[in-house]
Amino acid sequence: MLKLDGVDTYYGPIHILQKLELEVGSGELVCLLGGNASGKSTTLKTVLGIVKPRSGSVEFDGEDVTGRPTSYRIGKGMAIVPENRRLFAPMSVRENLEMGAYLHGGGTKEDWDRVYTLFPLLHERRAQLAGTLSGGEQQMVAMGRALMSRPKLLLMDEPSMGLAPILVEKNFEIIQQVHESGVAILVVEQNANVSLAIADRGYVLQTGRVVLSGPAAELLRHEDLRKAYLGR
């Protein structure tokens, strides 16, 4: 579904991603772990084409999309729940969801039904301005917005940041539900415990390099990772 091959990404002169190799199979749930500033968000932005790699390639759904603009990739089936959610605060919940389906004519009835069934609260709050929602509600909008485009690959950047533990759990339930419906997912998390528990595979990033990767169950048992992330 997604394959990064030898990707080098720079911000100006600063070399961020270094020879990054990463793969997400179709229908797979892959977790990307790493400390602050290790390049997790940059990886997702490179996948989307928000930043362009200086070398290496991004392959998506059997096609090399390295030179393609973001809109093309979204149209082809990527969607993202960005870091800090990035909702359009002065727009209503409904309009935010609509933006998610921007390239799909604003969403079919099915899309709306699916999202509103997953998050009945959003239907209730559809006229409310997104900026006035609580953090948990905003997370639902961000998730719903990404799902409005019927993605084949869902990218998520720290979806549980700033949520109460109970909501984090709820959030992961929904992620799993989406996963089970056949969507491939690449999720960035600081919370290794919870994310590895539902993931198929994982990567650990350190200063822009993959330092560890493998099946989730293996990573959970890995000594270094446990020391670094799980605190035990």
């Binding site: 928000i50 959610r85 909702l87 359009f88 727009m91 309009e95 900026g131």
Partner: protein, 325 residues
């Protein structure tokens, strides 16, 4: 509030006329204000999406006025129009709006887009450069002379008398300007509120990168915004020509400055703000011309700009820099 006191004072102690004179000035102010509001919208839309003060906007309106003049001349001129007047005026507006719109597109593409990531002073300088470029191009092509629009000859010297022949007079031309501006504004509001482009425009204005993450192409949305804003400016230019009956290469300067003032007073970036600001500037200018004199009118207008900025820096309907979530 101060404005209200001043208006009351002016009316009450006016040596000559009473309320009729005041209402006449008000009507004239609304006509003028409609034009300023259309110009202000262009400033505000562009500022909203790029945080750029497009100082070339007044001159885009001026070009619109000249395009309208060109159409008028080609189709026989104000005294012997080759086609029915209604069709002629419609042609002037359509061609001027398209012309100004495409000019706006070109300006964005060649003068602003290359500087998108430059320090904010750079596009501002570029804007001033474009303004001078447009003014001097017209100076070169048409000379410094006034060109006669003769809007009243073209449309009609007649109008509506409210309250008898000694009452308030609204020319048909004035009625047309107000109605036209109103229609354009209603259209714009509908466009921004309900259409796919309007929503994308609001999304890009608020957070360009997040909009891109939704598959919106910010460059296209920004370009379209320039087109729409500039087209409104072009319409304002034609209205200006019709109402003042003549134009020359610098009409965009002062009209642009007034439109800019209107946008800032109303709250730059806010569409209803631009409309309200335009109306206020038009009214104040008209009242000041009537009760004081023409020379101090601009002084009062810009004095009000400074006053509003001191009391309410974000403008009347502006929101103080909304935090991104």
């Amino acid at each position: 509030m101060l404005l209200a006191i001043w208006v009351f004072y002016a009316v009450y102690f006016s040596p000559t006329q009473g309320w009729t004179f005041f209402l006449q000035l008000t009507v004239d102010g609304i006509i003028l204000g409609s034009i300023y509001a259309l110009i202000a919208l262009g400033y505000s839309m562009v500022y909203g999406i790029l945080k750029l003060l497009n100082f070339a906007h007044g001159d885009v309106a001026m070009i619109g006025a000249f395009i309208g003049f060109g159409v008028l001349t080609l189709l026989g001129g104000p005294l012997s129009p080759a086609i029915p007047v209604v069709a002629l005026v419609a042609c002037m507006f359509v061609v001027a709006m398209l012309g100004s719109g495409f000019l706006g597109l070109a300006i964005e593409r060649f003068a602003y887009r290359p500087l998108r990531d430059a320090p904010r002073i750079a596009p501002l300088i570029s804007a001033l450069g474009v303004a001078f470029f447009l003014e001097n191009s017209v100076l070169l092509l048409f000379g410094a002379n006034y060109r006669n629009y003769d809007g009243y000859d073209l449309i009609s010297y007649n109008g509506i008398h409210l309250g008898g022949s000694a009452g308030v007079f609204v020319s048909y031309l004035g009625v047309m300007v107000i109605t036209g501006a109103l229609l354009l504004m209603v259209g714009l509001v509908a466009l921004v509120r309900w259409t796919r482009f309007g929503k994308a425009m609001r999304a890009v204005s608020f957070d360009r990168e997040a909009a891109a993450m939704m598959g919106i192409d910010p460059d296209r949305v920004i370009a379209t915004t320039f087109f729409v804003g500039s087209a409104l400016g072009g319409a304002a230019g034609v209205m200006f020509g019709l109402v003042y009956s003549q134009i020359y290469y610098l009409v965009g300067f002062l009209a642009g400055l007034k439109g800019f003032t209107a946008a800032v007073v109303g709250g730059i970036g806010s569409i209803p703000g631009a409309m309200l600001g335009g109306l206020l500037v038009g009214l104040v200018e008209s009242w000041a011309k009537g009760y004081l004199n023409g020379n101090v009118a601009d002084l009062v207008v810009f004095g009000i700009l400074i006053g509003v900025m001191l009391i309410r820096p974000q403008g009347l309907l502006g929101t103080p820099a909304l935090q991104k979530v």
